[in-house]
C-alpha cells in the first residue's frame, strides 16, 4: 500500500473557502436554501461549510441539518453485517427549499441515491444540489454528478481515499492509498 497526500492543511482551507464562494454565487443569502450533511462523514464538511458561510454572511440565518441514510441503502442484506445508523437531525421544513447535500467523498453514487430517497420523508425540495470534497471520477455506478467539487481525482477500485478532520482526527488532510502492484 503506497500513500499520497492529495490535500494538505493549507489547500484544504482554500478548497473549503472556494466551495463556500461558489455556493454564495448561486444561493445569494441562503433565504431559500438549506444545507444537509450526510452521516457520518459528510457532516464534518457540512459543519465546516456552514461555519464558514456564517462568517462570510454575518446576520443571515443558514439552516443546516444531518441526514442518516442507513435505512435507505440498497445493500441491506448484502453485507456481512448490518450498519449501525447515526442520528438524523433536520429541524426545518425542506418543502420548496433548495437543498444542498454535502458529503466528503463521491464514489459509486449509491449513497447519494439513498440520500435522495431519504430526503423525500422531509418534503419535496424545489431543487437538490450536491457538494463533495473529493470526486472519484469514472467510478460511478449510477448517473449522479456533483455540482460543486473540492478536488476531482482519477482512481481505480482498489484505491482508497481517506479524509481526516481536525475535529475528529487532529488534522485536515486528504490521503490517497494505492495498492502496490506486483511486478
Amino acid at each position: 500500500m503506497s500513500s499520497r497526500l492529495i490535500l494538505n492543511q493549507k489547500n484544504f482551507d482554500i478548497t473549503i473557502n472556494r466551495l463556500c464562494f461558489e455556493l454564495i454565487e448561486n444561493h445569494d443569502d441562503f433565504n431559500d436554501t438549506v444545507i444537509i450533511g450526510l452521516q457520518p462523514r459528510g457532516v464534518n464538511l457540512s459543519n465546516r461549510i456552514t461555519k464558514q458561510l456564517r462568517q462570510f454572511l454575518p446576520g443571515k440565518t443558514i439552516l443546516s441539518g444531518n441526514l442518516d441514510i442507513t435505512f435507505f441503502r440498497d445493500d441491506f442484506r448484502r453485507r456481512e453485517s448490518v450498519i449501525v445508523p447515526s442520528a438524523t437531525q433536520i429541524d426545518f421544513i425542506i418543502e420548496n427549499k433548495k437543498v444542498i447535500l454535502v458529503d466528503d467523498v463521491l464514489y459509486t453514487g449509491r449513497t447519494i441515491r439513498a440520500a435522495l430517497d431519504a430526503l423525500l420523508a422531509f418534503g419535496r425540495p424545489s431543487k437538490v444540489e450536491l457538494v463533495v470534497l473529493i470526486d472519484r471520477k469514472f467510478s460511478r455506478h449510477l448517473p449522479i454528478e456533483p455540482d460543486y467539487v473540492g478536488k476531482a481525482i482519477d482512481t481505480i477500485m482498489s484505491d482508497k481515499v481517506k479524509v481526516t478532520w481536525n475535529e475528529t482526527d487532529g488534522k485536515d488532510e486528504v490521503w490517497l492509498f494505492t495498492a502496490q502492484k506486483e511486478e
Binding site: 442518516d68 442507513t70 435505512f71 435507505f72 441491506f76 442484506r77 448484502r78 453485507r79 456481512e80 453485517s81 448490518v82 450498519i83 449501525v84 445508523p85 447515526s86 442520528a87 438524523t88 430517497d117 431519504a118 423525500l120 420523508a121 422531509f122 418534503g123
Partner: protein, 309 residues
C-alpha cells in the same frame, strides 16, 4: 461501525448479550425518530416477507408488530389460531412449514405453550421472533420496558424496579427480570405468596410481599395484570382482597417520598391492579411504552433481517 447480533432468532432475553441489548436500544432510538416524521416509513425490509402467527389472543403486541413491519416496508401475512387448520389437527411444524413454503423469511409467533418458539427455531428454516410463549418469555416487551425506563431516567444501571402482581404466570416478569438484571438494574418482585414462584430469588431478585415497602424502595413500578385465564386454581381469596392489598391508586402514590414511574404492559384491568387515577397520572408512562414498542420491534426486525445467511 457495524456489529451483528449474537443470535439468529429472538427467542428470549436469556440468550442475549449485553451488547445485543445495547445495539437494539441504539437502533430503536433511530427508529423512534423515523416514526415521528411526517412520512413514517423506510424501505429497509422491502424484500422480506414476515408471517405473524398468533396462536393466542393479542391486540397490542400484534398491532405493534404489524405496524413495525409495515413501517419497514416488509410484506406481511397474518394468521390467527381461531381461523386456521390448527383446529383441524395440524401440528405446529406442519403449519409453519406450509407457510414457509410460500416463501416467508421471518416468523413472529405467539403461542400458549412455553418453549414453542425455541422448538420452532430448531425445526424450521426462518428467523423466529418470540412474541410471547406461554408463561416463559416475552422478549420484545422486556426490551421496550427497559428502553422506556432508560429513556425516562437516562440509564438502567442502579435503577430500582419493582414488578408487582402475578409473577407466577407472567412471561413479561421473567423477560423483564433477565433484561433489567443484565443491564445492571436492581429488581424486586412483589405480590401474594401464592403468585411468586418459589425459587425466583435464585435469579438475583428481591422478594417482598408488602406493597408499601416495595413502592418505598423503588424508582419504577411495573404493574402486571392478574392472569385469570392461566390460573387453574384460586391463588387468593377474592379480587376485592387483592385490590386492597396490591392495588395501586393515587393515595398510595402520593404517600411516597418521591415520584416513581408507573408502567403496565397492558391490558390494564382498571380498578384491580391499577386504579384510573394512577393509570392516567403524569407518573404513568404506559402510552410511551406503547409508542416505544413499535420502535423497539422495528429495531429487532431490522437487526435480525440484516443478517446474511
Amino acid at each position: 461501525m457495524s456489529q451483528q447480533l449474537s443470535v439468529k432468532h429472538l427467542l428470549g432475553i436469556k440468550d442475549l448479550q449485553i451488547d445485543d441489548i445495547r445495539q437494539i436500544f441504539a437502533t430503536a432510538a433511530n427508529f423512534k425518530d423515523v416514526i415521528n416524521r411526517p412520512i413514517k416509513k423506510v424501505p429497509s425490509l422491502r424484500d422480506i416477507t414476515v408471517a405473524n402467527l398468533f396462536f393466542e389472543n393479542s391486540t397490542r403486541t400484534r398491532l405493534s408488530f404489524e405496524l413495525a413491519e409495515k413501517r419497514l416496508s416488509a410484506d406481511i401475512v397474518n394468521f390467527s389460531a381461531s381461523s386456521s387448520s390448527v383446529s383441524k389437527g395440524e401440528t405446529l411444524i406442519d403449519t409453519v412449514n406450509n407457510i414457509l413454503a410460500m416463501k416467508v423469511d421471518m416468523v413472529v409467533m405467539r403461542h400458549p405453550k412455553p418453549g414453542a418458539a425455541v422448538f420452532l427455531s430448531r425445526h424450521v428454516n426462518a428467523k423466529i421472533i418470540n412474541a410471547g410463549d406461554g408463561t416463559h418469555e416475552h422478549p420484545t416487551q422486556a426490551l421496550l420496558d427497559a428502553f422506556s425506563i432508560a429513556e425516562k431516567l437516562g440509564e438502567l444501571k442502579g435503577v430500582r424496579v419493582v414488578i408487582i402482581g402475578d409473577i407466577l404466570h407472567s412471561r413479561v416478569a421473567l423477560s423483564n427480570i433477565f433484561c433489567l438484571k443484565k443491564m445492571g438494574a436492581e429488581v424486586m418482585v412483589c405480590g401474594p405468596v401464592t403468585l411468586i414462584p418459589r425459587y425466583i430469588a435464585e435469579l438475583g431478585v428481591i422478594v417482598e410481599h408488602d406493597l408499601k415497602k416495595a413502592l418505598d424502595w423503588c424508582d419504577v413500578a411495573n404493574v402486571l395484570r392478574i392472569q385469570l385465564e392461566r390460573q387453574d386454581i384460586r391463588y387468593f381469596p377474592s379480587l376485592r382482597e387483592y385490590v386492597m392489598l396490591y392495588g395501586i391508586n393515587r393515595e398510595i402514590l402520593d404517600s411516597l417520598k418521591k415520584d416513581i414511574l408507573v408502567m403496565h404492559p397492558g391490558p390494564i384491568n382498571r380498578g384491580v391492579e391499577l386504579s384510573s387515577d394512577a393509570a392516567d397520572s403524569r407518573q404513568s408512562i404506559i402510552l410511551q411504552q406503547v409508542e416505544n414498542g413499535v420502535a423497539v420491534r422495528m429495531a429487532v426486525l431490522y437487526l435480525l433481517a440484516g443478517q446474511v445467511d
